[in-house]
Symmetry: C2
Subunit: 353 residues, 2 copies
Amino acid sequence: MRKPTIRDVAERAKVSLKTVSRVINNEPSVMQATRARVLHAIAELDYEPDPSARNLRSATAFVIGVAYDNPNPYYIISVQNGVLSACRETGFDLQIHPCDASSPLLVNELCDWMRRSRLAGLVLAPPMSERMELVEALASRGVKLVRIIAAAEDPQDGHPCVFVDDRDAAYEITEHLVQLGHQRIGFLWGGQEHRSSSERYLGYEKALQDYGITLDKHLVVPGDYTFDDGFRGARRLLALRDPPTAIFGSNDEIAAGVLAAAKSVGMNVPYDLSIAGFEDSPFSKQSWPPLTTAKQATEEIARHAARLLIAQLRLDAPEAPVAAVHNHGFVPQLVVRGSTAPMRPRPPPAQDA
Amino acid sequence: MRKPTIRDVAERAKVSLKTVSRVINNEPSVMQATRARVLHAIAELDYEPDPSARNLRSATAFVIGVAYDNPNPYYIISVQNGVLSACRETGFDLQIHPCDASSPLLVNELCDWMRRSRLAGLVLAPPMSERMELVEALASRGVKLVRIIAAAEDPQDGHPCVFVDDRDAAYEITEHLVQLGHQRIGFLWGGQEHRSSSERYLGYEKALQDYGITLDKHLVVPGDYTFDDGFRGARRLLALRDPPTAIFGSNDEIAAGVLAAAKSVGMNVPYDLSIAGFEDSPFSKQSWPPLTTAKQATEEIARHAARLLIAQLRLDAPEAPVAAVHNHGFVPQLVVRGSTAPMRPRPPPAQDA
């Protein structure tokens, strides 16, 4: 039997040769149903594309990198998935590089990495993206980069970015708790080196202020973006003589720790304690009760950052189509679920013995 | 003021020049405390390594790839972290490539990717790693690869692998439930294309058989490794006239769905229903009650796979030290937590009206 050709595939799938070629070369412009039909035809005929006939990409690798330092696996996987989706649209590949944001050698480390792996550009995740001296040092060495940062406004500092207005979203969460009647609202910080955490704190502080609620410093606990810090922080707050009736954990990992701490002391959430997180992670949907949170759209944010980077890289390649390069802002949206409820009055705190 | 030199750093940190050089070049042989001292000295002196003095790696990038198709983010991030840790030890970098395991063009896609990005080798995660025709096709094109596979024994088929004995671990979980008095134990499958899921099913089946419990086909539900399939499958089992008193979800995502389903119908876990998962994911520790599961050590498994791959790559480089290349097996360990408890007798099922 003769070997099947691309023509046989096109006939069987009832599409043009060009369409088969697009599917073989993984071009994004083919509709899902058409792509499936072509793939079925390829499988049925056992057709194998001839490498010399394939539209082989240039010998130069088009690879971008993502550098991150974050203890939250869902955040990282969402960033990766967003960047990968922009890579697939454009034929780029992705290297990942977790690093220590506090290392004084970080500039050298990142430049060495980019040079030895011939990376075309870099998506910088927080907190590195928020350290201006690092960004300046990389830019001065000619590194093309796009930052994902926490900021209420476009910084317009000449370094492309995608900015996420955590402050407004944190204001909304706090407002939601206040409107449920809560006056004593605990706040658990994420890592101080993440600007997102101070932005969220500022949103919390502003909402309390606007509603005339005095901020009680005992209700604010430092920590990192982790379950364990959420658990420890909540245990500390719940042991106060006058504990909070609601706790706002500055991400969902922290809020998960608060939920476990509340359950470990026999509290019924949300009736004995309201809990809110931030991120809209899978955990926030899967826990019981599911968590009130702010939907952060991390994947979309990262996809936009990668598109911005790739558009910038193509501006340098005169043969490629020129795309406009714009910074872009996102505002996470309040998502109300079962972990927050109207405040129930509590007995007054016990008097000193 | 003169620019600080590597000698100044060594003096200040009270270490040898060689040690400073090791830290600058990110070599793994420096103790944590020493490394910290050197980094402090570098930061205090504002020392910047001279690129020409740095032990710059060869112009060839040493990059390996991980290809995966898995809906479970924690599994993927653990695989990445394990591979990255082996990369850091050896100076390799990592590209990641999610793909569609069912695509008939997968061999071409992976070969194109490896060629254009000049990858030295590949870690194949399940289910691709378990499709022998894919493995053979890649090997015949000269691709160096190591597979992570579900298998009770070393397949010794000439293709290096790390094998994970899911069957024994699933046997142990089922045995644990039987020993708690459960006779009606539901089983929720993961994706049928994952050998891990059939291995786990076989362990479940064998344990029931060994304990003289007849397998009731109504208690076995197909699905994928997802929360939603766990939720749906559990709702179906709990709606049976004679529902199970325990459910074994074949990974923790599924078990999380079972937990939510049980809570959604007002059941008290573990008293009304025992639930076990598989993986020891963060969710299994963070949920309430925390989940009985099998600790899979995915990160360690992936680290071993990457070490095996890198050792293999170095065998091809005569100047590098030759390491022995051995396949390696892992057995996940039973972890008993709060989601499983002794069976409580139930009223007999209602008679037909």
